[in-house]
Symmetry: C2
Subunit: 581 residues, 2 copies
């Protein structure tokens, strides 16, 4: 491709209201253009990257015998009504009426359409398993579209749906998909982690997310420094924390403890470490339009993880309770404890962290201003509800290897695999006959990859102050051939010769033959992020040219006569390193 | 691909409400599934054909240096407001509001978004021409979606937009595209015609349509039997008709002509051929919400072409005028003529066919019941408006070679190329600086191919009573390998061996290894339309197998040991024949 006729406009200025580097560089280097809020058009460079990513995903999906289909993008609302998602999905589901007043949605995900495709045709267990996928448009009416392709409204996804005769076969396919996704992200050349995750509005159990590690990521991951354990913060666990000191020996008693409304002042008062105290966190939960207070007890050295708290209550939303709301039910901030709490508040929403299970020698509020209990032993209480409630901190011990310490990293979600079970097949009445001629609902899995988001995620992970650095498997071109001075006829002649040779060798090369200053060509090369540049410049009369590696900025002078062979070896080397075959 | 695990369900019964064979076969053979009115999902077979068609289109578009992009599908209404199409496009344009009450459309075509992509970046004539294209989703809210993919609401199109510094360069690209489209439809293996066409709601001048010839086509074409001339009926012309007899010599006079309200009775009365009479056709036209009568004069041997009549009046709609409406303005059916017509009706909508220009010796109504004029000479009248108004009949003489006779054929529109000029660049204010630093609007072309419709069009042209017959370039597989009896271990062993060899040779083969009767495997082969079947059956012990060509039903026995080489030759032969390289 000759740059002089290639539509790849670059911008010198940073566009307004741009925070992320990926957003800035993809706009400035001419990969994408904003058409509306959260809606982007892809210029030729952007489309080339999309195509390369899609092709890798397609090859790996085909390898595990998934079959490519294309589901209707516009979907009748009726189907979403049946699956009980029409209202539940909220305002991100864009709904509209056609000229005949029939209601449709712009598909943000396609479980319903996938079930429809299968249910009419597959009647017997002998036809299972089936795994279909598509690489296609999605629309999600985000409240606050931002960061370019990272959180757009219109986007490209690979979504896949598998259908199984039983749970065991679904679990087998889920593991196949985990490996498939590993191959995909390895081939894309990205540093990623597989994390245990929360299933969110899709439903089902046992979901895992694929996270591209990047400082700007919106998600926080807990990662073990010794083993492969990694989890989203809302799903992370740890080996139970051990106390630093021996337990404070005391029989059950009430103490007057003035001015000890914080864990710190309480610990100072009793000369104990926070481990031996029990903290109450009060939240307001919203559930089916109603709100009420909920009470969470954790050790004094821990922090409540909101998503875990929300999940255990089944609430739609969870927010902090105000001082007034807490006092209105007869409680005193700083002195809240579990004893008699149900009597005082009439609440059914009282939870204890797993690490408090049957814990003894505890200090907690007495539900009386200025008083705490000591010597509390939870094993003596009946009917307490325990759940994992705590936020994992850096330095906590890995729950799997039980040796390594956990650290936090930021990540960008680029893939998510789910075991859906019968979440969709049941309401959509999609069944088959099993070995005993019994009608059963399909066990389903679903598996997504954010194809367009991967452009942003890749740039977030791989860039510098000058621009993008593509990994070689998704770069729009393998090489930029830069003609340093387009008015120098010897340089031009050599550059044309090499361009033709490289094309004949099947190498995707962008030939910068523009009548521009060398500096501006180099700036565009650095902004665009193609892995290598071959420069035909001042060395030409001496039979020399120069290779630059974008990532390391390393330069190396080589013989003109050996340039093509050298480039071929470089590119071959990169692709061999990245292939997992 | 093994059929036993391939998701390609076939149906025995014809689905209800299906008229076209392409609709029936694509549903029954498991290519497509209806998801909603005019909305289809593509099963693996259908997706494979889509991919093959898209790939041929992509290769040919790239060859002429068009650059692939992807434009936002959901488009802000604001852009359509600016181009003045938001209301003009009518109800086929699906409009909706997002959660913030901003209005959008589902793009039925993307001129606006394409202009937006170019206008921000291209400032100088030196950067022109530019040609961008995409293969992507479209939505058109058809009043009456029907015939499967033929007239759906959601569909896949290749749409391309070119930008030029002047008209001459646009005309050059238009010709390049005509050739490009010829290569595409040749490679697809379709019998097609290029026809002069009406530009419709897209606007612009000089448009051509690409029509796949098929009996079920909705469009009628006039085609020359001698040269390459072809035109849509609404754009077709002819060499002016010549009279069979000498003109009736008469001086201008009024005759009492009772009971001559038809051309036939009038000709009998005066003993002349219809050529020498002038027929009045009265229509009601609707324009910007108002209706009025319009008068069209053509020779008695001709028929009015409605679209031509509508175009000349600039009406939004044209319908027949009733007897009552005609009489209400003081006219008498069968006796309407041009003389004094404007005085009687006050109408500005009076038109004469081009073949009547300055015509003499004519007989026409006298606008008085029971009277006609003879010896009328139109050259004596001033200010008459002439236009091409007539419908081209079979037997008319070609306007280009002036020798061949025209015949009618039915066609399916699969491509349309337009010279848009500044129809969009002007209202969207998209300009560049020319050689003299003057600001000019881009001259634009646009070029569409109905990718998903091509599946239907191809099947309409190529099928028989048993099912589809794909051309080899778009068939989902090159070959079906049929294991006749899956319980015969020798047959199975040989079939597996051949399947592996064919795969190693890179041949796309569907291996029918199902545990089904041979007859049902053959029926599926015939329904699905893959060009060849290789049957491993009873001849196996004697080292023989059989090749069947789907189209001709020809069968040929060959040695098992030579089967793979034979198949390779067959497939290579087909692809060589179809390639235009």
């Amino acid at each position: 491709m000759r740059f002089s006729t290639f539509f790849a406009p670059t911008l010198k200025e940073t566009p307004k209201d741009v925070v992320l580097k990926s957003h800035e560089y993809l706009l400035r280097a001419g990969y994408i253009q904003q058409l509306g809020s959260g809606i982007y058009s892809f210029l030729p460079l952007g489309k080339r990257v999309l195509t390369r990513i899609s092709q890798i995903v397609r090859e790996e999906m085909n390898r595990i015998h998934a079959q490519e289909v294309m589901l209707g993008f516009v979907t009748p609302s009726e189907l979403w009504e049946k699956s009980n998602r029409l209202h539940k999905y909220g305002k991100e589901l864009l709904r509209f009426k056609d000229r005949k007043n029939a209601e449709f949605v712009l598909g943000p995900t396609h479980e319903e359409a996938a079930v429809e495709m299968i249910k009419g045709y597959i009647k017997s267990h002998k036809q299972l398993p089936i795994h279909i996928y598509q690489i296609h448009l999605k629309f999600r009416d985000e409240m606050r579209p931002r960061s370019g392709l990272m959180r757009g409204r219109e986007f490209i996804m690979k979504d896949a749906y598998s259908f199984h005769k039983n749970k065991a076969d679904l679990v087998r396919e889920f593991q196949v998909m985990e490996q498939c996704y590993q191959r995909i992200f390895n081939r894309l050349g990205l540093d990623f982690r597989i994390v245990k995750a929360d299933s969110g509005s899709i439903g089902g159990t046992g979901s895992k997310e694929f996270m591209v590690v990047a400082e700007s990521g919106e998600d926080t991951l807990a990662i073990c420094q010794e083993c492969t354990y990694a989890a989203n913060l809302e799903a992370a666990t740890r080996t139970a924390k051990q106390p630093q000191t021996r337990p404070p020996q005391a029989t059950f008693a009430k103490f007057n403890t003035p001015n000890t409304t914080s864990i710190k002042s309480l610990c100072a008062f009793f000369h104990v470490e926070p481990y031996w105290t029990m903290k109450a966190v009060v939240k307001k939960i919203l559930k089916q339009g109603k709100s009420e207070l909920a009470y969470f007890f954790i050790r004094g050295n821990d922090t409540l993880e909101n998503i875990k708290a929300q999940n255990v209550t089944g609430a739609d939303e969870i927010i902090d309770a105000s001082k007034e709301e807490i006092e209105a039910v007869g409680l005193h901030i700083g002195y809240i404890g579990p004893i008699a709490l149900r009597n005082i508040t009439q609440s059914q929403q009282i939870y204890f962290d797993e690490e408090l299970r049957d814990g003894g020698n505890l200090i907690c509020g007495a539900n009386e201003e200025g008083y705490h209990f000591v010597g509390v032993n939870l094993a003596e209480f009946e009917g307490l509800v325990y759940a994992d409630l705590i936020s994992i901190q850096e330095g906590d011990i890995c729950p799997e290897c039980k040796r390594g310490t956990l650290i936090h990293k930021k990540g960008i979600e680029v893939g998510h695999i789910f075991q859906l079970g019968t979440r969709y097949s049941e309401p959509l009445n999609a069944s088959f006959l099993d070995e005993n001629a019994q009608s059963c609902f399909f066990e389903m899995g679903c598996y997504g990859i954010g194809i367009s988001r991967l452009l942003s995620a890749s740039v977030e992970q791989n860039h510098d102050q000058k621009g993008i650095i593509w990994t070689s498997s998704i770069s729009p071109f393998s090489l930029t051939l830069i003609l340093s001075n387009s008015k120098d006829s010897l340089q031009q002649q050599e550059a044309e010769k090499i361009y033709n040779s490289l094309q004949e060798m099947g190498i995707e090369v962008l030939f910068d033959d523009r009548n521009e200053r060398f500096g501006s060509k180099m700036a565009d090369f650095e902004l665009m992020g193609i892995p290598f540049a071959l420069i035909i410049g001042k060395g030409t009369p001496n039979g020399l040219c120069e290779i630059i590696q974008r990532k390391t900025q390393e330069r190396c002078e080589i013989q003109l006569s050996e340039a093509c062979a050298y480039v071929q070896k470089l590119i071959h080397h990169c692709s061999v390193n990245l292939s997992t075959d």
